[in-house]
C-alpha cells in the first residue's frame, strides 16, 4: 500500500499548497456553487483560481481518462483525493450537468472525436451544459416526446419545445432528445448536442411556487445542428437516455436526500417547543432518517461491489425524496407561524417556507414517486403488468 500512501501524502501537500483558504470554508448557500461556463460570474478570485488549478490537473473529474481532460486516477486514488479534500474542507471546485450527466454518457456512447471535443471543456468548466428531456404534456412519459429533428443532409433541422430545462438560461450547450422517426415510440428518438447560442434557440424561465426559477421553457425554431453532434446512432437515443436516467437516479438517491445529514437529528431541534405530539413525530422521523442513512451506506457499498439491483436506485430515490419532504414538513411545524413569513429580514427571505415548497418537487423531478414504485414493482418484485 506504500504507493497509495505516497499518493495520499502528495495529494494532501498539493491541496494545502493550492487550495485557497477561502475555498476551505463551507459553502453558505447554493450561491456559492461554481457552475463554470462561458458567462459564469465567479463569486471571488479564489473561486476562479481553485477551478483553474483543479481543472488543469483534471481533478474536477478525477476518474475520467487523462486524454479527455480527466485526472486519470484509479478508484482508490479518487477515493483518497475525496477523503483528503474532505479532511481539509476543500469545496467542490466545479459542479455541472456536464460532469454528472453528459460526461458519463459520452464516455459510454460518444465517438472518439466527440470525446476529445467535448470532454476537456467540461473538465475545465469552460462549457456549461443543460439537459433537454421533458416536453410539455409528456410528463412522466419521457419517450412521448415530439420535438422534431429533420434530416437535411449535413445537418438536422430542430423544431419544438422543451420544458423543465434546468438553468437553460445560463447554459452554453444542451444535450437534447429529439424525434427523428415516428415509426416507433422509443425507437425514433435521437440524442443531439448543440450550442444554446445557435440561431432559433430561446428560453423562458419558469417561476415556481417557491418563487425561485431554476427551470426554463426552451424553444427551438429551425435550429440547425451539424450531424457530427449526434451521439450514438440515429434513432438510438433512448438507449443513451435510459443510461443517463439510471445515472441521475443513482446520483439523486446517493445524495442521501432526506437522510439525517451527518448526525443532526430533528429531535435535537425541538428546543423550546413544548409539544409532545410534534416531539413524537420528530423522534419517529429520526428513526427513519438514521435508518435511511444506513441504507444509503449499504446502497453505495452494493453499487461499488456491483451487487446492487439495477432498479435499486428507484427505491432509493423514492424513499429519500419522500423522507426529505417529511423533514421539511416537520421543519415547518417546528417553525410555526415564524416559518410562514415569506418576505421579511427576520425570516431570511422566507427561506424555510421556500425550501419546504422546493422539496415538493423532489418526488416529481427525475421520475415521480409513482414511476419509481412502478419500476420497483416491475423489475425487482417482478409483479405482472396490469
Amino acid at each position: 500500500m506504500t504507493e497509495l500512501d505516497d499518493f495520499r501524502a502528495q495529494t494532501r501537500a498539493w491541496l494545502e499548497a493550492n487550495c485557497p483558504p477561502e475555498m476551505r470554508k463551507p459553502m453558505k448557500s447554493e450561491k456559492d456553487i461554481c457552475w463554470g461556463g462561458r458567462d459564469f460570474t465567479f463569486q471571488s478570485d479564489a473561486q476562479r483560481e481553485w477551478l483553474e488549478v483543479m481543472g488543469e490537473r483534471g481533478w474536477t473529474v478525477p476518474d475520467w481518462p487523462s486524454e479527455y481532460g480527466g485526472g486519470g486516477l484509479s478508484a482508490e486514488e479518487a477515493k483518497i483525493l475525496k477523503q483528503e479534500m474532505k479532511a481539509l474542507g476543500c469545496r467542490v471546485p466545479l459542479t455541472s450537468f456536464g460532469i454528472s450527466m453528459l460526461g458519463p454518457a459520452l464516455l459510454a456512447f460518444g465517438s472518439e472525436e466527440q470525446k476529445q471535443r467535448f470532454l476537456p471543456p467540461i473538465a475545465r468548466g469552460e462549457i456549461r451544459w443543460c439537459q433537454g428531456y421533458s416536453e410539455p404534456g409528456a410528463g412522466s412519459d419521457l419517450a412521448g416526446l415530439s420535438t422534431k429533428a429533420e434530416d437535411r443532409g449535413d445537418h438536422y433541422l430542430v423544431n419544438g419545445q422543451k420544458v423543465w430545462t434546468s438553468y437553460a438560461d445560463e447554459a452554453d450547450w444542451i444535450f437534447c432528445l429529439v424525434r427523428t422517426s415516428t415509426e416507433s415510440k422509443h425507437g425514433g428518438i435521437s440524442f443531439l448536442l448543440f450550442d444554446m447560442a445557435s440561431e432559433g434557440v430561446s428560453t423562458k424561465p419558469i417561476k415556481l411556487i417557491s418563487g425561485y426559477s431554476p427551470f426554463c421553457e426552451t424553444f427551438f425554431d429551425d435550429v440547425k445542428v451539424p450531424k457530427d453532434q449526434l451521439v450514438h446512432e440515429e434513432n438510438k437515443g433512448w438507449t443513451v437516455a435510459k443510461y443517463l436516467l439510471g445515472h441521475e437516479r443513482e446520483m439523486i438517491s446517493g445524495m442521501g436526500l432526506g437522510g439525517g445529514k451527518g448526525s443532526s437529528l430533528l429531535s435535537e431541534a425541538l428546543g423550546e417547543v413544548d409539544d409532545p405530539l410534534l416531539a413524537t413525530d420528530l423522534a419517529r422521523f429520526d428513526v427513519d432518517a438514521l435508518a435511511f442513512q444506513a441504507m444509503s451506506e449499504a446502497f453505495i457499498d452494493q453499487l461499488k461491489a456491483g451487487e446492487a439491483h439495477p432498479a435499486l436506485p428507484s427505491m432509493m430515490k423514492y424513499a429519500g425524496t419522500e423522507l426529505n419532504k417529511r423533514r421539511h414538513e416537520l421543519v415547518m411545524a417546528l417553525g410555526g407561524s415564524d416559518a410562514l413569513e415569506w418576505e421579511s429580514d427576520r425570516s431570511k427571505e422566507g427561506a424555510r417556507a421556500r425550501d419546504w415548497l422546493r422539496t415538493k418537487a423532489n418526488s416529481i423531478e427525475g421520475g415521480t414517486s409513482e414511476i419509481q414504485l412502478g419500476i420497483v414493482a416491475k423489475h425487482i418484485l417482478q409483479l405482472p403488468g396490469a
Binding site: G139, G144, I209, W342, S344, L357, E370
Partner: protein, 365 residues
C-alpha cells in the same frame, strides 16, 4: 339533523356562485399579490360581501346583520376556502363579532362590519405557536385605564385593521382589549406570509388605553372569539381541501400519460377515494362543531378541537396529494394548485394546528 337545512342550502348556493365568480383566484388572490397590494385583499369585495349580507351574518339584526349562526358562517367560509378568497371575513365577521357581541363596543363596531366597511384583527399569539393559555402580554391598571406591554405576531390583516382586539393578562386573568391601530407606543410591522396574505407583528410599548377599552368581562369574549375562529377556520380548511381535491379530480380525468387518463391508474384512484372520504368526514365533524356551538352545548368545545384537528390534517393530505398528482405543472407559479398548499400551511397554524387541538382534546378527557 347533521346536514344543512333548506335555508342554509340556499345560502350555500348563493355564496358558492358569488365566490366562484367574484372571489376567484385570478380575480382576488393572484391579482392582489401580483400588484403587490399592501392589504392582500380587496376592499371592494369586502363591501360587496357586506351588501350581500355576508359580513353581518353573525351581527344582530338591530346592528344591521342577520343574526345567523356558526353553521351559516361556516357555509361562507367553506366557499372562501374553496376559492382561496382573501378577505377579513374569518377574523372580522366571525371571531371579532363574537368577541364584541353584547359588549359596550358592539354598538360602535358591528354596524360597520355588517356594511363590509370595518376591518378588525385579533392579536392573540405571542410566539410562533398558538397557545392562548400562556398570554404574557400585560394590561396593567394605571389611573383610569390600562397600560399594555408586550409583543404579538401572526395578527392576520393587523396592518389593515380599523380595530385591534388584543389579548392581555390582567390581574383578574386574561382579557380582550379594543385598541386603535394609531395608539401611541404601538408599532405595527406588516408581514407577507407564504400564501401572500398579510399578518402583522405588533409591539406594544407602554400603550395607554381607557378602562372601557376592555371588551366585555373576564375571558369570555376571548373564549368566544377563539371558539368561533377555530370552528370557522376548520370550515375554511375543509373548503381548501375540497377545492384542491376538485381541481385535482378534474385533472385526473383530463391529463393523459402513457396513452390514458392518469385518473385511470388504480394507485391514484385509491388515493383519491381515500381522500374523498377524509374530506367528507372532516366536513361532518366541522358541521357538528358548528351546530353544537349554535346550540350552546357543553360538548361544543370538544368538537371544535376535533374539527380543527381533523380539518387541518385532511387539508394537509389534500394539498400534498393535489400537488403530487399535478406533477410538474403543479410546481409552477402559473398554476393555481400551489396556492392551495400555501394557504393550507398558513391557516393550518391559525388558531392552533392539528397537534395543538388533538392534545387539547386528550387533555379534556
Amino acid at each position: 339533523m347533521l346536514k344543512l337545512n333548506d335555508d342554509q342550502r340556499m345560502l350555500q348556493d348563493t355564496v358558492r356562485l358569488f365566490m366562484a365568480e367574484k372571489g376567484a383566484i385570478s380575480k382576488q388572490l393572484r391579482h392582489w399579490r401580483d400588484i403587490g397590494c399592501k392589504d392582500g385583499f380587496g376592499h371592494s369585495l369586502w363591501e360587496e360581501m357586506g351588501k350581500l349580507g355576508l359580513t353581518g351574518i353573525l351581527v344582530p339584526e338591530a346592528a344591521g346583520g342577520s343574526a345567523l349562526g356558526q353553521v351559516e358562517a361556516n357555509v361562507v367560509l367553506e366557499e372562501i376556502g374553496r376559492n382561496l378568497t382573501p378577505s377579513p371575513f374569518l377574523t372580522t365577521a366571525v371571531a371579532a363579532v363574537r368577541a364584541l357581541e353584547g359588549s359596550a363596543h358592539a354598538e360602535k363596531w358591528l354596524p360597520g362590519i355588517a356594511e363590509g366597511k370595518t376591518v378588525a384583527a385579533l392579536a392573540i399569539d405571542e410566539g410562533p405557536h398558538h397557545d392562548p393559555s400562556k398570554i404574557t402580554m400585560t394590561a396593567t391598571r394605571s389611573g383610569n385605564g390600562f397600560v399594555l406591554d408586550g409583543d404579538k405576531q401572526f395578527v392576520v390583516q393587523g396592518a389593515s385593521a380599523d380595530l385591534l382586539l388584543v389579548a392581555a393578562a390582567t390581574d383578574d386573568g386574561p382579557a380582550l382589549f379594543a385598541v386603535a391601530p394609531d395608539a401611541s407606543g404601538l408599532d405595527i410591522e406588516n408581514v407577507t406570509l407564504a400564501d401572500s396574505s398579510k399578518a402583522a407583528r405588533l409591539s406594544f410599548d407602554k400603550v395607554e388605553v381607557d378602562a372601557d377599552a376592555q371588551v366585555g368581562e373576564g375571558d369570555a369574549p376571548l373564549k368566544r372569539a377563539l371558539a368561533a375562529g377555530r370552528a370557522g377556520v376548520a370550515s375554511e380548511l375543509v373548503g381548501v381541501a375540497a377545492g384542491a381535491f376538485e381541481m385535482t379530480n378534474a385533472y385526473l380525468r383530463e391529463r393523459k400519460q402513457f396513452g390514458q387518463p392518469i385518473g385511470s391508474f388504480q394507485a391514484l384512484q385509491h388515493r383519491a377515494a381515500h381522500l374523498y372520504g377524509e374530506i367528507e368526514i372532516a366536513r361532518a365533524a366541522t358541521l357538528k362543531a358548528a351546530q353544537l356551538l349554535d346550540e350552546g352545548s357543553e360538548r361544543a368545545a370538544m368538537m371544535v378541537h376535533v374539527a380543527k384537528a381533523k380539518a387541518g390534517q385532511v387539508a394537509r393530505l389534500a394539498v400534498q396529494e393535489a400537488v403530487q398528482m399535478h406533477g410538474g405543472i403543479g410546481m409552477t407559479d402559473e398554476h393555481d394548485i400551489g396556492f392551495y398548499m400555501k394557504r393550507q400551511a398558513v391557516i393550518d397554524q391559525l388558531f392552533g394546528g392539528p397537534d395543538f387541538h388533538a392534545r387539547a382534546l386528550a387533555q379534556r378527557s
